[in-house]
């Protein structure tokens, strides 16, 4: 068992504003939890508090039910992979991986066996005699992972371990990490600002902003039902379109145009100030004479696999981004007709920017 629980955890430096505020999180045994958020949102600080590298100001941290507030990092049975890898430059790859094991009273032969076995799994066997300066970025990253894996900890903590790799290597290593998790089934908590990593790797993702948890859920759940406009904008590339709208009767008005209010939002009190959210892939171009809305094309960006259009609706700021099939033929200035997928429309309160409750999901 290796659950990780954070109960009302906060962190402040001196008398300054708290950098982590009232975080409540439970990571189940064997889960791959991703902490996602922009730079400075407190995700790395949260990770460091779990690791025991930062004292917490308020709250409690438990690992497997055991209170860890005053337990030093070395006694928490946690392994961490750092963004900079933090390999010991004066040690060989073998010694880097064996360093943590030597404190645990294992025999030399046992340490050698474990290191060799882990190195083989990470294709490091031929590099054991090298020092970190003689390794490539990808090799160093594998050594950092190997150093963590060889300890067989209860929990893995990974602090943006892929951020120093090039795009191609990042994609490959991402898959390797997912396979590794499937193989060893150890609880992993992964910090990143990259939503692609979060969506592809996490069992659940926890989105943070300004020191607080904004939403926790399965990746597609959070993607389809963002809790507020921050999550709606942060997740997805291109981001969710957020348009000022109003509700009157069974109609949602967007600028000078209108469409039917989705069934899920029938319970909402009419108001002239809501924010309508719709993902670019949930907007469909229609032939002339069809479609609920009319828009004018501003830019056309053929991306190969798809074509991205930027459109304006009359009287509405900002522009609407649409992901159209790759053979879509449009010109800037052209008038087009569109439909929004009613089941994908999300409404947010214009004042609080929180998602409005639906009759289906609450």
């Amino acid at each position: 068992m290796a659950t990780v629980e954070l109960e009302s955890v906060s962190k402040a430096y001196g008398s300054h504003r708290a950098v982590v505020r009232d975080v409540n999180l439970r990571v189940e045994d064997g889960e791959f939890m991703v902490l996602l958020g922009p730079s400075g949102c407190g995700k790395s600080t949260t990770l460091r508090m779990i690791a025991g590298l930062e004292p917490i100001t308020e709250g409690r941290i438990r690992i497997d039910g055991r209170l860890m507030n005053r337990v030093p990092a070395r006694d928490r049975d946690i392994a961490m992979v750092f963004q900079s890898y933090a390999l010991y430059p004066h040690m060989t790859v073998f010694d880097n991986m064996a360093f943590g094991l030597r404190r645990r009273g294992l025999s030399k032969s046992e340490i050698t066996r474990k290191v060799n076995s882990t190195a083989e799994g990470l294709e490091l066997s031929l590099l054991l005699d090298r020092r970190p300066f003689a390794l490539s970025g990808g090799q160093r990253q594998r050594v950092a992972l190997g150093r963590a894996i060889v300890r067989e900890p209860k929990v893995f903590l990974l602090d943006e371990p892929l951020s120093n790799l090039d795009a191609a290597l990042r994609a490959t290593t991402r898959n390797e990490l997912v396979k590794l998790h499937q193989r060893i089934r150890t609880t992993m908590i992964y910090v990143t600002h990259d939503q692609v990593e979060a969506m592809t790797m996490g069992t659940r993702i926890c989105i943070m902003s300004a020191g607080r948890i904004v939403q926790i859920g399965h990746p597609m759940e959070v993607y389809r039902d963002p809790a507020n406009t921050f999550v709606a904008r942060f997740l997805g590339s291109p981001a969710m379109n957020l348009l000022p709208a109003g509700i009157a009767g069974d109609i949602i008005s967007i600028g000078d145009q209108s469409l039917s209010r989705p069934v899920a939002y029938r319970g909402i009190v009419p108001t002239d100030r809501v924010i309508l959210g719709i993902r670019p892939e949930d907007i469909t171009l229609r032939p002339a004479g069809q479609g609920a809305l009319q828009a004018q094309v501003v830019t056309v960006a053929p991306l190969g696999a798809e074509t991205q259009l930027s459109l304006t609706l009359a009287g509405v700021e900002p522009e609407v981004i649409v992901r159209a099939p790759r053979d879509t033929s449009c010109e800037p200035g052209q008038t087009v007709r569109l439909d929004f997928d009613a089941s994908s429309i999300r409404l947010f309160d214009a004042t609080t920017e929180e998602r409005m409750p639906t009759v289906l999901h609450g």
């Binding site: 990092a73 070395r74 961490m80 010991y88 150093r147």
Partner: protein
Amino acid sequence: MPWRRRIAQALLAPVVLLYTLATVGPFVWIVVLSLRITPDIFRNPYGAPVPAHWEKYAAAWFGSNYDVYFFNSLLVVGCAVAILTVVGAMAAHALARYRFIGNRFCYFLIFSTLIFPPQLIIIALYQILIEYGLFDTRIGLVLVYVSLNLPITVYILEGFFRRLPSDLYDAARMDGYSEMLVFWKVSFPIAWPAISATIILNTITLWNEFLFAIVLIADDSRRTLPIGILKFMGDQGNDVGMVATGLMISVVPVLLIYAFFSEKLIQGITAGAVK
């Protein structure tokens, strides 16, 4: 353009040659003098060492207590440098890596002692050592040497430790190491170039230290090498030849250390200097 460079080199060469002669010349002269006897030197100060009197080294070593002085220097400087290295590195590590109340004040306090010239503190030190029964003792001299060189040691190493990534220390803590072991297993080995530089600097300065040794050591059996040379300087004149031989005996270990470790010295100084 090549011709400009040639002109520049041609103008620079004599300057470099003059400078080299000015710095190396006296040393070469002392080497020559160490192999000549004093009457020959007075007859012809710049003459060649023909014949070369190698027996002067044996005479100095066995006949003039140089073996005792050498051993004392080795003991005093060795102990002082060992203490300076360990204590200085630990102090620098603590000041660089840990946040605690008074950190900067401590650092300033240690560093500010560098501004005091030795002549200012020697009388007070003399009195203190007498009161604590450390006057005319090698341990007393060791402690004085440590206090004199600790500030510069801490200064050089603090800058180096401060530049080490904090992730390294976090990784070592996560690997199960206590703060003391993190220092010995991670900090100290990584800082070895800078630490080597401080070892060399301290060894060279303390090996040649004269003022405190002559004031704080009275007994001949506890004298260090720089003081031993005084034996050949008397009221009726100086045995110049033996003075030169004595100087050579005292300088050879320093030369050897510098020859073998000069690269580390440059690495260490520049590593600690850039913050």
